[in-house]
């Protein structure tokens, strides 16, 4: 088989040093990377296994009331952390709607944010894919593309980002901490993933060797916990990626929307923050009409990248429904079918 070096650094600085050379890849749970390697989609020369790096697996409250989540915290452990789920319920719901129980037990927070697209043409090494092989072309553009992007895509790439977790995180102004050769920096998660443009192979702002070490949720995001939901439309009830998903969070005062946070999943190469829609909602009465106007604004720039025009209308409806669910109030516990339309309480329909 293709040989590669395997190193197991004991500290973040050792990890960064080991991963700076071209061809290096960080390995955490490997729930995505190992599949990609087995399929010959990525062929790293060096795996830098960070699972023994101490200090990256903690969930810590911060002095300002926010929460800091280490990159190696397992998806399931985070979702089932009572304090986290109470403060950021839509994020917990999104986590539990992703993958399968077995995968969630293994997969890490950092790995989730850095997972690769599920575009079939990316996985199929016989197809042209600019993301896998820059400059080779995009077979998805003229292929089977009913599930591809409707926002932010380019002729070079129409793939979507598959994470559920990242969608409410982006809505709630999450920040990632990045360690590099020259020290640490912070980037808003909204700015962390890149749109494809002419360089779809570059999916995030990480520079070679840089390591995502933690994720932070601001204290302010707790203010939405009473009205925060994640909704995911998919082709089966579990173990399927989103056709379209939406995170909606509201702060309501005196019968009006004081603040809204909205993001969409399954529509673009990154979790798609809908700021124009948020602005439209501020000060408005929370009702189906204002939600629909906001949803239209969120998708105003959308255009089909193939046989996927239905996703534009569907995304608006998902956003409206997510807002209605958020308005109805966060359920006390994450529903048995997390993020499913079928977990909706009575009265959710417009």
């Amino acid at each position: 088989m293709k040989t590669f070096d395997y190193v197991r650094p004991a500290s973040v600085s050792d990890a960064v040093a080991a991963a700076t050379e071209p061809g290096a890849a960080y390995l955490a749970a490997g729930t995505n990377l190992l599949d990609l390697m087995k399929g010959g989609i990525t062929r790293p020369d060096r795996l830098v296994d960070i699972t023994r790096v101490p200090g990256l697996d903690r969930i810590e409250p911060m002095p300002d009331g926010g929460l800091r989540i280490g990159a190696l915290v397992r998806n399931a452990d985070l979702a089932h952390d009572a304090e986290f789920a109470r403060s950021y319920p839509s994020v917990a719901e999104a986590l539990l709607s992703g993958a399968s129980a077995q995968l969630r037990n293994a997969a890490t927070v950092g790995g989730n944010l850095l997972q690769r697209t599920r575009c079939a043409y990316f996985y199929d090494t016989a197809s042209a894919c600019n993301k896998r092989e820059p400059g080779s072309g995009c077979d998805a553009r003229i292929g089977e593309n009913r599930l591809h992007a409707v926002l932010g895509w380019s002729d070079a790439c129409i793939a979507t980002h598959p994470s559920d977790f990242a969608v409410p995180l982006v809505a709630l102004d999450a920040v990632v901490e990045i360690a590099g050769k020259t020290g640490r920096r912070e980037v808003a998660l909204e700015d962390f993933h890149r749109l494809p443009g002419d360089t779809p192979e570059r999916e995030s702002v990480l520079e070679p060797g840089e390591l995502l070490v933690a994720l932070r949720l601001p204290a302010e995001a707790r203010g939405f916990s009473a009205h925060a939901r994640y909704l995911k439309v998919r082709e089966r009830t579990s173990y399927a990626f989103a056709v379209v998903s939406a995170a909606a969070a509201l702060r309501i005062e005196n019968g009006a929307i004081r603040d809204a946070r909205l993001a969409l999943g399954g529509v673009a190469a990154k979790p798609w923050r809908a700021r124009s829609a948020e602005k439209l909602l501020e000060g408005q009465r929370p009702d189906a009409a204002s939600f629909r106007r906001a949803a239209e604004a969120a998708l105003a720039d959308a255009k089909p990248s193939g046989d996927n025009e239905f996703k534009i209308e569907l995304a608006q409806r998902v956003l409206v429904r997510a807002l209605l669910l958020a308005l109805a109030g966060t359920p006390k516990r994450v529903p048995a079918l997390p993020a499913s339309p079928f977990s909706s309480p009575a009265g959710a329909f417009a």
Binding site: M1, Y121, R234, R236, P341
Partner: protein, 755 residues
């Protein structure tokens, strides 16, 4: 554990009296839960090498270069099998001397006929080295444009469909019937290519010893596989020993031995060592068959009373460019509904895919979803409840042949299923029901049917002087429970408790049990077992009734019955003799006899033989988002005598879930230009997960069939798929008012404005 031990199952459940009809748990269940059931890929004979397939990335053309040197230079790679370097075969892999002999790619040339076709085999000391060696071959191709889909080539009328059925059959005058009808509908239904996706990938471990060949491989047809291998390698069949004690699912894909399995045997011959070859998941999307896509046009006419005047079912299907299998989809209209005029017709298109083959309910499943949808549409057009409409058109004799049914408890299925489901409360118009949360609720139904088939099987029965028994037949357990159900028949046949019977099965050196397909395995192998048991009991009775020392002396064979390891006088059960005593007095350590199971041609000539069922489904649909969820399904099935109701219910559950899958989930997404399947894995080729099937209910409707076979068995393996898929589609219509005729039904279809 050695496989030989694993093949001999003994009971953990002592039962007394009749074993048939008992809901025993699987006798191999604990082995499977512990991971001790030996599957083919678990075998590691000493000195074994690993073989990995290199497969084509193009769908049509030829291989112009393989970098064999690069592969061979890789550490651990032992050899690379290519068209230029392979062991000789005794038979052309493209020869076809009978309809069950399908052409295979055994590196006979450089042609590529479909994507994922094997083009070389790399053999190495480790799986990893073989895998990398296959990647290093980096083939180049001369590419020809792929023909993809039902409109990519000229169509023709196939010479036959399914297994030798005429492509066009008409009874009565369909055009006249349609012309006379007061209500007519015409609709086109489309079903996609589907792949079997058994949980266990095909695998083979092959070892040669001179001209003797030892094989571990999953197969639904030991004897047929043995025969095919014998022909290809020029061996006599008795030189080939195949072990197939357990299959991790087959669904038809393991019915006939496939090309890549043969390549594993060739690889072992080439290197002179045992070789293991396990398919990667995506390699199951080419050379092991699939369910062909269909486009079906139904024209249905009815009179003013809602009685069918004509039923015209036309199916356009694909087959491969190089072989013939034609999904008999339109034949689904032959048996269910009484109509004075019925026509089935087929038209085929050759495309660049692997040859489609039998896949669970081949023809019945594809045809059923179209027929049951059309019947529902006609019921609605006539303003009649779908169940009443079906009862109005109930076939008292088989419509296409006019033959009486050997038995048909479909009315009871309708009644019991409807009662359990609560069908009578169904509002006739669509989009009338909502649940408390506001979801659209719809109820739909479909009729299930599948022919009661039998193949030819044989069994050998032994009674030993310690009072125990042995039953041998080379049957196949694909997960359906043959180890258990057939052992139950064996115990009754031998007049022994189950724990006194050693049931041997799953290897090719045992009597041929017939193929595990066509829902016919329990009937075929079961009848062979039954007859072998009866034959050995008759021999025992001969011994006893002619032995002056026996209490049965002079009773005569007909006057003796067997039970609990003893023979009794039928007219006086106080007089009996044990098997132990009979054999001991005769100085025998054991006595044996053989039996066969096969259909009775006279009964087949006189009767139409089918299992039947009725499936009722509730779906909920999100009115805005288009997501569908099946919330309840009730199936009532009449399939003759039920050997093990627990296993049968599982089979029917599985079939009904497959119906849900057919209607809502399954589809091979084929790139329209390259002909490559873009979702060849279980993450993206969707089948239902547990959360998709919250409530299933199966009713077993009592049915005694004196004609199908002496045991009255009809078979249950495939019928559950039929009816169920249409019931889901009809429920979606009833929930939404949107009639979707392209399957699977997708969110896109139900998001209003994009229908």
């Amino acid at each position: 554990m050695t496989p030989e031990i694993g093949l001999t199952q003994t009971s953990r459940h002592a039962r007394h009296g009749s074993n048939i009809g008992q809901p025993l748990t699987r006798r191999d269940g604990i082995l499977k839960v512990r991971g001790e059931a030996p599957y083919a890929a678990d075998q590691h004979p000493a000195g074994m090498l690993h073989a990995v397939l290199a497969v084509s990335t193009i769908a049509r053309g030829r291989v112009t270069f393989l970098d064999v040197n690069a592969a061979k230079s890789h550490p651990g790679v032992v050899d690379v099998m290519t068209p230029a370097h392979k062991p000789p075969l005794a038979e052309d892999p493209d020869a076809k001397t009978n309809p069950f002999m399908f052409r295979m790619e055994l590196l006979q040339n450089d042609a590529v006929r479909y994507a994922y076709q094997p083009i070389a085999v790399v053999i190495a000391e480790t799986l990893e080295a073989a895998t990398e060696g296959a990647a290093l071959l980096a083939p180049t191709y001369e590419i020809q444009p792929a023909r993809v889909g039902l409109d990519s080539n000229d169509s023709f009328v196939p010479p036959a469909v399914g297994v030798g059925h005429p492509a066009v059959i008409e009874r009565g005058d369909v055009e006249a019937g349609l012309a006379s009808a007061s209500k007519r509908i015409e609709a086109i239904y489309e079903t996609p290519a589907q792949y079997h996706n058994a949980m266990e990938p095909h695998a083979i471990v092959a070892a040669w010893d001179g001209d003797a060949l030892s094989i571990d491989t999953p197969t639904q047809g030991l004897a047929m596989a043995q025969g095919r291998i014998a022909g290809l390698f020029g061996l006599s069949a008795d030189k080939i020993h195949i072990r197939s004690p357990f299959l991790g699912g087959g669904f038809g894909s393991k019915g006939l031995i496939s090309g890549p399995q043969i390549l594993g045997i060739m690889a072992a011959r080439l290197v002179g060592k045992p070789v293991k070859l396990v398919f990667r998941r995506e390699q199951m999307y080419g050379p092991v068959g699939h369910r062909a896509p269909t486009r079906q046009r139904l024209r249905v006419g009815a009179d003013g009373e809602g009685r069918l005047a004509a039923l015209d079912h036309h199916a356009k299907i694909t087959s491969s460019s190089f072989d013939d299998f034609f999904e008999p989809a339109a034949d689904a209209s032959h048996t269910l509904y009484a109509s004075p005029a019925i026509r089935s017709s087929h038209e085929a298109v050759r495309v660049d895919t692997g040859t489609p083959l039998f896949m669970r309910a081949p023809g019945e499943a594809t045809g059923s979803i179209a027929l049951e949808s059309a019947i529902d549409e006609m019921a609605s057009a006539c303003g009649i409840d779908p169940l009443d409409f079906r009862l109005k058109n109930y076939a008292e004799v088989e419509p296409i042949s006019g033959k009486p049914f050997s038995s048909k408890a479909l009315r009871q299925c309708y009644a019991q299923g409807a009662e359990r489901f609560g069908w009578s409360k169904r509002p006739p118009a669509p989009r009338q029901m909502r649940d408390e949360a506001g979801f659209l609720v719809g109820w739909g139904m479909g009729t299930a049917t599948f022919p009661a088939l039998m193949f030819q099987g044989a069994a050998r029965a032994v009674v030993r002087s310690d009072g125990s028994g042995v039953m041998e037949t080379g049957a196949h357990d694909m997960g359906q429970g043959a180890w258990t159900a057939l052992a139950q028949i064996a115990a009754d046949g031998l007049g022994l408790d189950l724990d006194r019977v050693e049931f041997r099965s799953g290897t090719s050196d045992l009597p041929d049990a017939g193929i595990a397909g066509g829902s016919a395995h329990t009937a075929t192998a079961g009848m062979a077992i039954h007859n072998a048991g009866a034959a050995v009991i008759a021999k025992l009775a001969d011994l006893a009734t002619s032995d002056q020392r026996s209490p049965l002396f002079g009773a005569g064979n007909a006057g003796v019955i067997a039970r609990d390891g003893r023979l009794f006088r039928r007219d006086d059960e106080t007089r009996g003799d044990s098997y132990v005593d009979i054999l001991t007095r005769a100085g025998l350590t054991e006595i044996e006899a053989r039996g066969t199971g096969t259909a009775n041609p006279a009964a087949q000539a006189d009767y139409a033989m089918h299992a039947h069922g009725a499936v009722f489904v509730e779906v909920k649909v999100d009115p805005d988002l288009g997501q569908v969820r099946v919330t309840r399904a009730v199936g009532a099935f009449a399939a003759g005598r039920i050997i093990n109701p627990r296993l049968v219910r599982s089979q029917l559950f599985g079939g009904m879930i497959w119906g849900v899958s057919f209607a809502l989930h399954e589809e091979a997404v084929i790139d329209r230009r390259s002909g490559r399947i873009m979702n060849p894995n279980l993450a993206e080729y969707h089948v239902p997960v547990n959360a998709d099937v919250p409530s299933l209910d199966v009713l077993l409707v009592d049915e005694h069939d004196p004609h199908v076979n002496a045991l009255g068995i009809k078979g249950v393996g495939e019928i559950g798929v039929t009816g169920s898929a249409g019931a889901v589609a009809n429920a979606v219509w009833h929930a939404t008012g949107v009639r979707v005729r392209r399957f699977p039904i997708r969110i896109d279809d139900l998001v209003v404005g994009h229908q």
